[in-house]
């Protein structure tokens, strides 16, 4: 197997930067690809080369297999890293790479195909002896829907067969909601994956979402790096992840790790993958396998002292897996999304201020920069804050500390919700499940509100005073906007239009 000297990074945002960072540390060149909206994105500026793909819509750029693979060929890349999302779980993309003689840094197309079809994946898991949630192992259509749901028993879940990342998932608690939810799930599935097949399964009560990080090389070795607990979710999107999961006994942990490796072997897996399980009351059930690097992989990296992207590249170059070190301490990741903390609606705008957290045990993965525009074209995740501590208590305290240090101004973010989660008794006790976010009061503590009102009044006082003084005691127009706000506007006008 030849060494890898130049990698096309077929992604954007923090994950593109993540790959570029490791490649740079390995002395490997990187080729960034970009859409119109991303001309000045950080992944373009940090790569050694950059190739323009096309329009801002993903279909015109990051999702266009032909353009991406042609860029890899033309720029002399010997490998392609798909990141997550976009083409990362697309077997056609993997095959196109192989056909072009470019190493795809992910599993072989048949493994992607098998695990990407959730119905097929369940069949393979069953065969490999991996436990499953009760439900239908096949696609449902509108005609059989109500009968099937009744048979499995409410509440039920509708899930996109081609899904992943929580898109196209609906929970249905009673029959009268069933049809609308089915149509919405199909529409979302169609929009997100171009495939509107949906399947149905029992909704497990008080479930925890626990997943195993696996890695396989081309020599038949399969290892795992323990579990991640990902139960803090809203709209089936993870918000806070941690490792280890304190609910698991050593026996269950070992069984889960073995099951994940068995499944990887059953599909001839190569590279990094994640096997997701539901865990409830001492038992675990296979959910799906994500045939790519997961958003929350740094949680594992910090505990095991491993660079999973480096391992992916090493595996792609035909090297054998490095031995897995003993895990140390506890780590927690918080996803920082541009969204309204109450409605979870995306929040768009320009980042006017960015204060990064620092100090011991804190890692920030993001492609944010001051002046960046958050556009509606792509995912709303802005950053991942990951901390590591000697134990869970220290990790929680450290994460709260870092969350207060991290400041993003210009859009609303999920930071306050994450902070409230970490402060909640439920999270701190460790006895929580995927419903935790619905139970947490997302409002700032009452004790703090009066302080905020005082600070707001004082801020207005000071601004008014300064404008008065700065303008020599006069004001241009009666109730003029403070000079201060004006400066903010001038800064906004600086925006690039080259």
């Amino acid at each position: 197997m030849p060494a890898i000297r130049r990698i096309l990074v077929a992604n954007r945002g923090e994950i593109a930067l993540r790959v570029i960072r490791t490649a740079q540390e390995m002395g490997i060149e990187t080729v960034a690809v970009y859409s119109d909206a991303d001309r000045t994105a950080l992944h373009v500026r940090r790569a050694t080369h950059a190739v323009h793909l096309g329009g801002s819509k993903p279909s015109e750029s990051y999702l266009d297999i032909g353009k991406v693979v042609a860029a890899a060929k033309k720029s002399g890349c010997d490998a392609l890293h798909p990141g997550y999302g976009f083409l990362s779980e697309n077997e056609d993309a993997a095959q196109a790479c192989i056909d072009a003689g470019v190493e795809f840094l992910g599993p072989p197309p048949p493994a992607i195909l098998a695990m990407g079809d959730k119905v097929e994946a369940r069949k393979i898991a069953m065969k490999a002896g991996v436990p499953l949630v009760p439900g239908l192992q096949e696609e449902v259509d509108e005609a059989r829907l109500a009968a099937a749901a009744k048979q499995v028993g409410y509440p039920v879940m509708l899930k996109a067969a081609a899904g992943g990342g929580g898109k196209g998932i609906r929970i249905v608690r009673e029959e009268k909601q069933l049809l609308e939810a089915f149509h919405m799930a199909r529409a979302e599935a169609k929009g997100a994956f171009g495939d509107d097949r949906v399947y149905l399964e029992k909704f497990v009560t008080r479930p925890r979402h626990v997943e195993i990080q696996v890695m396989a090389d081309k020599h038949g070795n399969v290892v795992h790096y323990g579990e991640r607990e990902c139960s803090v979710q809203r709209r089936h999107q993870k918000l806070v992840e941690e490792s280890p999961c304190i609910a698991l006994s050593p026996e269950v942990r070992a069984q889960m790790g073995k099951a994940a490796c068995d499944l990887a072997r059953a599909v001839g897996y190569v590279g990094a993958g994640t096997v997701e399980f539901l865990y409830s009351e001492g038992r675990f059930y296979f959910l799906e396998m994500n045939t790519r690097l997961q958003v929350e992989h740094p949680v594992t990296e910090m505990r095991y002292g491993v660079d999973l992207v480096r391992e992916q590249i090493r595996v792609g170059a035909g090297e054998k897996l490095a031995p897995v070190a003993e895990p140390r301490g506890h780590s927690i990741e918080v996803r920082v999304n541009a969204e309204d903390p109450n409605t979870y609606f995306p929040s768009l705008g320009r980042i006017t201020r960015l204060n990064m957290p620092g100090g011991p045990g804190v890692r920030l993965d993001s492609a944010l920069f001051r002046g960046m525009e958050v556009t509606p074209f792509y995912d709303s995740m802005l950053a991942k804050l990951v901390v590591h501590g000697a134990d869970r208590e220290q990790a929680i305290a450290r994460c709260q500390r870092a969350l207060r240090e991290l400041r993003i101004v210009g859009v609303s973010t999920s930071l306050p919700v994450a902070l409230r989660t970490l402060q909640s008794d439920e999270f701190r006790s460790g006895d929580y499940d995927t419903g935790i976010l619905d139970r947490i009061d997302k409002r700032p503590p009452a004790s703090r509100r009066e302080l905020a009102m005082l600070a707001a009044a004082a801020a207005r006082f000071l601004v008014t005073e300064r404008v008065g003084a700065g303008a020599g005691g006069t004001r241009a127009q009666g109730d003029a906007a403070p000079r201060w706000a004006m400066l903010g506007r001038v800064e906004r006008l600086r925006r690039s239009t080259p």
Partner: protein
């Protein structure tokens, strides 16, 4: 200067005066000694309240003050005395008309009601797709749809008026 502040349904009145380098704030029978300094980069204050320290990012746009402090974000409405008087004169012009606006830019993938429809609280009015998520926009209370200003397939800007209800 006297200020009326509003945050999530609560109200507080503060009187703020300068005493040399410091400010004194009063609310009811309580007094706060403030030392408030603008930090070099323009939108941040170092605020000491009776010796306790707070790092405050404040975006002051007239009566709307958006704060970040202690990991929280607060949108506080702050009226000074003159503004309060002016608002009292202007009265309550809003009346019973309610608006449904797009909370973000997106594509209208479905309009579930027509002009004249009677709707119940919680009923889905419009489905907006943004960032690859389908977001059902629901009626906050029962009423009648008086105008529909968007149509299926249309791309709308953030804040765009989608429909009006009575």
């Amino acid at each position: 200067m006297k200020y009326l502040t509003k945050l999530e349904g609560e109200e507080r009145e503060f009187t703020i005066e300068r005493h040399g380098d410091r400010l004194v704030a009063r609310s009811g029978d309580r007094t706060f000694a403030l030392d408030m300094a603008l930090v070099g980069d323009g939108d941040t204050f170092s605020l000491l309240v009776d010796g306790r320290s707070y790092d405050v990012v404040a975006d002051v746009q007239r009566e709307e003050v958006v704060l970040q402090m202690l990991g929280e974000r607060y949108a506080v409405h702050v009226e000074d005395e003159r503004e309060r008087a002016a608002h009292a004169v202007a009265g309550h012009k809003a009346g019973g008309r309610r608006e449904l606006r797009a909370a973000m830019p997106g594509i209208v993938v479905d309009v579930k009601v027509a002009e004249g429809s009677q709707v119940e609280e919680g009923q889905t009015l419009v489905v907006l797709e943004a960032m690859k998520m389908q977001n059902p926009l629901v009626a906050e209370s029962a009423g009648r749809v008086s105008r529909v200003l968007c149509k299926k397939g249309e791309a709308v800007a953030g804040g765009a008026l989608l429909l009006e209800m009575e």
